[in-house]
């Protein structure tokens, strides 16, 4: 049986339910959110239909600029850290025996699926005074007294890297598995050390993959909303935290929606860029 274009209405049958669900519960909510972003806010958490750009005008404030700047900086830092550790790791993993690969993949998937609440809780425990890592340093004699390491920027950064690392490896994994092993073998035959072969052959061959991965991890990190809250100070809040805060606690839905629309545009632009980089890779 060949693939053929649908001819009768009945041929479209299987599409009705999925298309209907996705339109009603994804496209319509999305449109609702865009609509709300130009609504007028009323006192007491309500809003009335209108067409105003007040909510977008608030982006021009210094406070918003700071939050946006910090969010972007944090996401870039996390993406860079993950990719720098992730590339050699995934490369070595893809060259490991299959059994070892599977064990690591199961572990990485388990951590990736772990709730952000639980990751935040785990790191706040590890960084706490009573049960934290500083106790180990005290025991080893490297520190005089145990202390709490949260809230701090370092804690937010570490936990977010932890959260995004499995994601990074899983994004890199397909490309690195497919990487032609004869490339490095040739380099080795010509006398390059493994490390040199990695940097002069593997990394350049993967340039576009690396760029695409950086962008994907950047967007992933941009979505982190609980870790900055649980492990950081208010100045470490990101755009995602601010959106949640405005929507739930300040009951300012129009402003939250406007920020979300903004975040969508940033993310979509970046996804487009990542896809473009990926296509360049295919073209080669």
């Amino acid at each position: 049986m060949r693939r053929e274009p649908p001819q009768r209405l009945a041929d479209y049958g299987p599409l009705f339910f999925p298309a209907g669900m996705l339109i009603v519960f994804f496209v319509v909510p999305f449109a609702t959110m865009i609509a709300v972003s130009v609504f007028q806010r009323e006192q007491g958490g309500f809003y009335t239909p209108a067409f105003v750009f007040d909510n977008y005008a608030r982006f021009l404030s210094l406070f918003f600029g700071k939050v946006l700047g910090f969010s972007l900086f944090l996401a870039i830092a996390v993406a860079a850290a993950c990719v720098v550790i992730g590339i050699p790791f995934t490369y070595l993993l893809s060259r490991s025996p299959r059994r070892i690969q599977i064990v690591w993949l199961v572990a990485l998937l388990s951590i990736l699926s772990l709730s952000e609440v639980m990751i935040g809780f785990a790191w706040s425990t590890l960084f706490s005074r009573t049960a934290g890592i500083t106790n180990l340093l005290v025991w080893l004699g490297l520190m005089a007294q145990a202390q709490a390491l949260t809230p701090s920027f370092g804690a937010v950064m570490t936990a977010m890297t932890y959260q995004a690392f499995p994601y990074t490896v899983l994004v890199l994994y397909p490309a690195l598995v497919r990487l032609d092993p004869t490339l490095t073998e040739a380099a080795r035959t010509l006398g390059a050390s493994p490390v040199k072969a990695f940097f002069t052959v593997v990394v350049p061959a993967l340039r576009n993959t690396i760029l695409a991965t950086l962008i994907m991890v950047f967007i992933f990190a941009l979505g982190s909303y609980l870790l900055p809250q649980l492990l950081g100070r208010p100045q470490h809040w990101t755009l995602s935290v601010l959106i949640t805060d405005q929507a739930i606690y300040q009951s300012n839905m129009p402003f939250a929606a406007a920020m979300a629309v903004f975040l969508v545009l940033v993310s979509l632009g970046l996804v487009g860029l990542a896809l473009y980089a990926g296509q360049q890779r295919q073209a080669k």
């Binding site: 599409l15 996705l22 909510p29 199961v106 772990l114 639980m118 790191w123 590890l126 994994y173 949640t244």
Partner: protein, 264 residues
């Protein structure tokens, strides 16, 4: 080189394991203290998950939500993936894109979209809205595994069945379904585990009327610490490891994650 590789793997492994080891440690403290190494030994905090009504309700809510929303995600993904495989209809790819979108964008966007939607339609807070929300949010996972499954089907098999007079329905039941079953199961498994752990969408849609375990932990964190949350974290980690371990045992995990080669 091998030593260097082992060391590197060990350091990464340690980084990934350390917070979980500490959580596992504090979960067996004898008294309600946040202490590591644990003081005394007690499994009572694990018992709490099942005996304390609040934690048990959250567990039941989480499991129900995960089981039903993963099923919904599958019901949306299966006919869509089948249609895209069976028919030539390039415009229908837009639905594939829509299915992948919620997972690619920051989750807070989908969460807020659904919050405004449920608030506008007046269903805000109903527990079934969380099932639909998660079903849509996680449709990506079965959609991706099933697209992979369909693309791997040898079309000559299907053609042979068609030549022998089997119609679409019969071909699906006798040829296609057995071939895609592992991917169907793993798609469900991925959606189930992720729904179990999901916080922001659940919180924004039903956070004030229903407590899933992640929501319960977050709420409990505000009032201070109880070892039960450590126990829940360990429990969830074990569930995820068992589920993905089973997927790896009965399916081809490297292939599912996008690696082509079988022989490695």
């Amino acid at each position: 080189m091998t030593a260097l590789r082992r060391l590197f793997f060990f350091i990464v492994g340690l980084f990934l394991a350390l917070p979980l080891i500490v959580v596992a440690g504090v979960s067996i403290n004898a008294r309600q203290t946040l202490a590591f190494p644990p003081q005394g030994f007690s499994l009572s905090w694990y018992g709490q998950i099942f005996t304390n009504p609040e934690w048990r309700n959250a567990l039941v809510a989480s499991l129900t939500l995960a089981a039903s929303s993963a099923l919904l995600a599958l019901l949306i993904a299966l006919p869509l993936a089948w249609f895209l495989w069976r028919r030539i209809a390039p415009w229908a790819n837009i639905f594939q894109l829509l299915g992948v979108a919620p997972f690619t964008l920051p989750p807070v966007i989908t969460a807020l979209g659904l919050l405004t939607f449920w608030a506008t339609t007046g269903f805000y807070g109903q527990s079934w809205t969380a099932v639909i929300s998660h079903g849509i949010f996680f449709v990506t996972l079965p959609l991706v595994t099933l697209s992979l499954a369909f693309s791997a089907i040898d079309r000559s098999l299907v053609e042979a069945a068609a030549t022998m007079g089997a119609d679409d329905r019969k071909i699906f039941r006798t040829v296609v379904l057995p071939l895609i079953l592992p991917y169907l199961v793993s798609g469900y498994a991925f959606a189930f585990v992720l729904s179990l752990n999901e916080y922001i969408v659940a919180y924004m849609t039903v956070g004030f009327t229903m407590e899933t375990l992640p929501i319960k932990i977050f709420n409990a964190l505000r009032y201070g610490y109880t070892p039960t949350m450590a126990a829940v974290t360990v429990l969830f980690l074990v569930i995820a490891a068992v589920v993905f371990g089973l997927v790896a045992r009965f399916g081809d995990l490297p292939k599912l994650l996008g690696a082509m080669s079988h022989e490695r």
